[in-house]
């Protein structure tokens, strides 16, 4: 059986970037992707950070950039909205090309990429190694096994590696959002703002989005809270939304998936193993966004795990430096967003409208360098006393 330093499961952004980071430090890295081709099919809203933020991880290339994001509008249930102009605040991606470029960067740095390789299990940590077992889907399911000093799970929202390691379980009810997205045409890009729509008629416990891409196309989708009380599937809500706002557009593609709104994991590492990206619950639990977070977790992992590999100590204790760094960079903020999402779940439509109006007050106040927080607090106390109680209970 072959021995390698690092075995990475999953060739999404987190998997490709950690592979690249460790290969650049001179380690022998093998990366497995179960799909026959990296990046396909896309399962993503494809909105990411600014050009500068992305360039930190990958040289910019028009092939994977659909355009800049210059601002955002948030619509409440009664269609009142808050608008903020933020030129270049984000980037609309072609995720398939983006993932492929990240994987190519890894391969160019010496990473050995296997596509069509499904991983079915891994052994316990013995003699400083774990063995990874799998099947080669290209070759009629021929058996595959490899020994690695460090196994990294980058296998996304339905991570199996995390379950095998005992680091995560099935999601608690309500922590996975049901998301559906159409790629549609006939959408004027306008100022290249992203539009978000909240409200119980649009997407209960979540929101709908319109992200303009290029050539008049846009990603239109929604994510919603799944509870035993949910009466209609995401498709029914999205079809209603389309009918109301883009009746003339054609649907060019359908994407679906679970978006995690879960809190941070207790631990992202085990003996000889670690989780990066969404498999390690790095998504923003409120927005569901996770591309930049995944890359950032992979960067922190690259630093901490690279050091552990050099030291030769890959026990859980030695790897803890990685989650520590992650918590400091994003994890703590994510925990706040988790509580915020819990609070948002309890909002009724009038409270969402109040939140949108308050945001508008804040945004216009920030532009004038003078925010009327007292007024917002007063309106919360007078018009939505229940909201203050709920907030107090959730946030403390």
């Amino acid at each position: 059986m072959r021995d390698v330093d690092v075995f990475v499961v999953g060739a999404g952004p987190a998997g490709s970037y950690i592979s690249y980071a460790l290969a650049r430090q001179g380690f022998n890295v093998v990366m497995a992707e179960k799909r026959p081709e990296v990046g396909v099919p896309v399962r993503c809203g494809e909105a990411a950070g600014s050009f500068e933020e992305l360039e930190h991880f990958l040289p910019l290339d028009d092939a994977w950039i659909a355009g800049p994001i210059n601002g955002a509008r948030l619509f409440g249930p009664s269609n009142r909205y808050v608008e903020r102009d933020m030129p270049g605040v984000g980037t609309q991606l072609h995720r398939d090309k983006f993932d492929q470029a990240l994987a190519r960067q890894a391969v160019d740095a010496g990473v050995e990429l296997h596509t069509g390789l499904q991983i079915d299990g891994l052994s316990a940590f013995e003699d400083g190694h774990r063995t990874v077992y799998g099947r080669n889907l290209r070759e009629g399911g021929s058996a595959f096994a490899m020994r690695a000093r460090l196994v990294i799970g980058a296998d996304g929202v339905e991570s199996l590696v995390g379950q095998w390691l005992g680091l995560r379980k099935a999601f608690p009810v309500g922590d996975v959002h049901s998301a559906l997205q159409y790629l549609i045409d006939e959408v004027p890009a306008g100022k290249r703002y992203i539009d978000l729509y909240a409200g119980h008629d649009v997407a209960p416990g979540g929101y709908a989005w319109v992200f303009p891409k290029d050539n008049g196309t846009a990603n239109v989708g929604l994510g919603m809270h799944v509870t035993p009380k949910l009466r209609r599937p995401a498709r029914a809500y999205l079809d209603d939304f389309m009918q109301g706002r883009f009746p003339k557009s054609r649907i060019l593609g359908v994407m679906a998936g679970g978006v995690s709104g879960a809190r941070s994991l207790k631990s992202m590492v085990a003996d000889g193993a670690a989780l990066v990206g969404e498999s390690g619950h790095t998504n923003n639990p409120f927005s569901g966004g996770g591309i930049m977070n995944a890359l950032e977790s992979a960067e922190e992992a690259g630093i901490a795990l690279g050091a552990a590999l050099r030291e030769g100590d890959l026990t859980e204790r030695a790897l803890r430096e990685y989650p520590k760094r992650w918590r400091k960079r994003v994890g703590r903020t994510n925990d706040m967003f988790f509580r915020l999402r819990k609070l948002y779940f309890t909002f009724d439509d009038s409270e969402i409208d109040w939140a949108v109006d308050s945001l508008r007050t804040i945004v216009s106040g920030v532009d004038r360098k003078n925010v009327d927080y007292t007024g917002i607090f007063r309106s919360a106390m007078l018009e939505h006393p229940k909201l203050m109680l709920k907030a107090a209970r959730m946030l403390w």
């Binding site: 929202v157 009810v173 996975v176 049901s178 599937p233 995401a234 994407m255 679906a256």
Partner: protein, 82 residues
């Protein structure tokens, strides 16, 4: 047939009918299933009916409406009718 009580629901009495033509293999149902009855076999979704407790969460979750919960008796009746 194995029939175990979990949380007031009986195992082994349900069947999840998967419409493979509609399923987009997003595997969200796999991550939401409380009993790990749903899993991806290579790139295809499968359900281990013996583990299903009929909680219906995956059906409500499925964004493209590819899943249907059937009780075992109904499934047997349907297959003998066709």
């Amino acid at each position: 047939m194995r029939s175990k009580r979990i949380g007031g629901k009986r195992r082994g009495q349900y069947h999840i009918e998967i419409d493979h033509g509609t399923c987009v293999q997003c595997a969200g149902c796999v991550s939401i299933c409380p009993t790990e009855a749903l899993h991806m076999q290579a790139l295809t979704l499968e359900c281990q009916d013996d583990d299903c407790i009929g909680c219906d969460l995956c059906v409500r979750f499925c964004p493209v409406v590819a899943l249907e919960l059937q009780s075992k008796d109904a499934a047997v009746a349907a297959s003998s009718a066709s």
